[in-house]
Symmetry: C2
Subunit: 311 residues, 2 copies
């Protein structure tokens, strides 16, 4: 692939299609939506409104970091606080499918849907890649028709057009184009992070307090394993509790699982054989820096039979 | 300590105290109750009735193995099937303290209490060691007065006498005397195993099916780590579930935690740095040999802040 030519073609195409109308897109901070955002802004300038929706499920400082990274590329991003919308939708849910669905529904139907309608935009820019389309066709992934997800009836509401400039690329192509465009490494080589974010890293109910717990654990794991070269690493908060002793008192504390894997495409994965010194250090930090956590476990399971995430 | 002299003194003492009366004791298979049983039989012969209570919480083949080990020493042990008593007492309980209490109460008040009264024995032989007494005094362990635990009011029911031949020994002394008496290594060097047995290895409700699951995992861990030289190793079944894929289908499976520690007295413990090859093999066996288990985790936590057991 000629990355430079690809970029020029997509910019021309977006420019011609949108003309004098307005466009909108949601940036997640992942490499796909980041590249789509950069292409969109090269083509449309301030006719494209880019929003970053703070769903309360992000990692420590993540919303600000993403906005800042794009500000340095002179791309303005609107940070939209939708924490309460997501947290109230998740309240009381423990079933993994229901939790994922609540995040998706709140994003599309409630928060982004409203922003799209208010913006007056007729064009939606979306970072769909070839693998998304293939997996939707194969029935592995849920439906990727963004208009349907936004509750926009494509029959009645003609006038909305979806732009998918990355739909011929796979992940490696997206990274290649991102590098050619000079996107910073923290974008082009970002460790995979799931759409429902830290909600997938909590077994049981997602609450503000439990998010705080898994957020600190995530920071520790990312600090300690940032230079590990692993494909992906994460911290997961279990719902179970176990006995422990602190200050000579018996307590019934929380449990964090650390998972670190090697993979090329996330379809299969093996477990990283981390040095024991590193494992002891992670365990020590997690059980001392986080209140109420007294166990740290390392996931030994490859994919299959386990998945990468827990829910 | 002169082990031989200790044995002779205790045998003489038990013989003189019991005289022509009958005695009874419960054998758990642990080194303390095993040594008490051997001393009692050397002193009393068939005037001592030894029972092994099958509480449904034992490891694979354990009741038969214990009975068989003692049969080879010409010591008859009555295997008492009390599985239903324990399982019905545990039904619906998820709180760790309630589970432990249910096992203790069923053992003393219901099963062993009845056996003591039916036996006509006036003497109870008990494997109390010095550490039990010290920890009871210090408030760490629950009360060790066996008569009170059996619901026998020592004021009204005079005539019951408790014999505690090991009450001046600590664990190392018990092992030394056991070896001097020629007890087999599987008794004298048995890996510590908690009184409430596999009930302490299950987070959440203890059911026959969940006991089967943790029992197979325990067999795998003991087979794989039997020659590890570790102080203690175990498998724990969590209550949480996590996603996995088997035969290309998404499933929501169970989680087993493997714990292996180094310690001298169980008061503090560090985690054994097992070879990765061994960890992978244990994970592979656990996720293939046990239906419905798709995750295997290794506990990285020392004591403190974790305890050895989970409940």
């Amino acid at each position: 692939m000629d990355a430079k030519k690809f970029v020029e073609e997509q910019i021309t195409d977006i420019k011609q299609t949108v003309g004098d109308e307005k466009a909108i897109n949601a940036l997640s901070g992942g490499v796909d939506s980041s590249l789509a955002t950069v292409l969109g802004h090269r083509a449309l300038g301030n006719k494209l409104r880019t929003v970053f929706i703070d769903n309360a499920l992000m990692r420590e400082g993540e919303p600000e970091q993403v906005v800042d990274t794009f500000a340095q590329m002179d791309i303005p991003v609107d940070l939209v606080d939708a924490q309460d919308d997501f947290l109230s939708a998740l309240e009381g849910l423990t079933d993994p499918e229901e939790k994922r669905q609540a995040v998706t529904d709140t994003f599309y139907s409630k928060v982004f849907g409203r922003l799209v309608k208010e913006s007056g935009a007729k064009f939606l820019l979306h970072g769909t890649i070839l693998t998304d389309i293939e997996e939707t066709v194969a029935g592995i992934k849920r439906q990727h028709n963004i208009l349907v997800q936004l509750g926009i009836d494509t029959q009645e509401a003609y006038g909305y057009t979806v732009l998918e400039p990355l739909k011929t690329l796979r992940k490696d192509g997206v990274r290649e184009v991102s590098m050619a465009l000079g996107l910073p490494a923290e974008v082009s080589h970002r460790i995979p992070f799931p759409g429902p974010a830290l909600a997938t890293r909590i077994v049981g109910e997602v609450t503000r307090q439990r998010l705080d717990t898994v957020r600190i654990a995530t920071t520790v794991v990312e600090e300690e394993l940032g230079d590990s070269g692993a494909f992906q690493y994460m911290a997961v908060l279990l719902n179970d509790r176990a006995t422990g002793i602190r200050d000579n008192k018996r307590e019934f504390g929380q449990i964090i699982v650390v998972r670190c894997i090697e993979s090329t495409d996330a379809r299969t994965a093996t477990v990283t054989e981390l040095p024991w010194e590193k494992l002891h250090r992670i365990c020590d930090r997690i059980t001392t820096e986080i209140e109420d956590v007294n166990r740290c476990l390392y996931d030994l399971t490859p994919k299959p039979p386990a998945t990468v995430e827990y829910i």
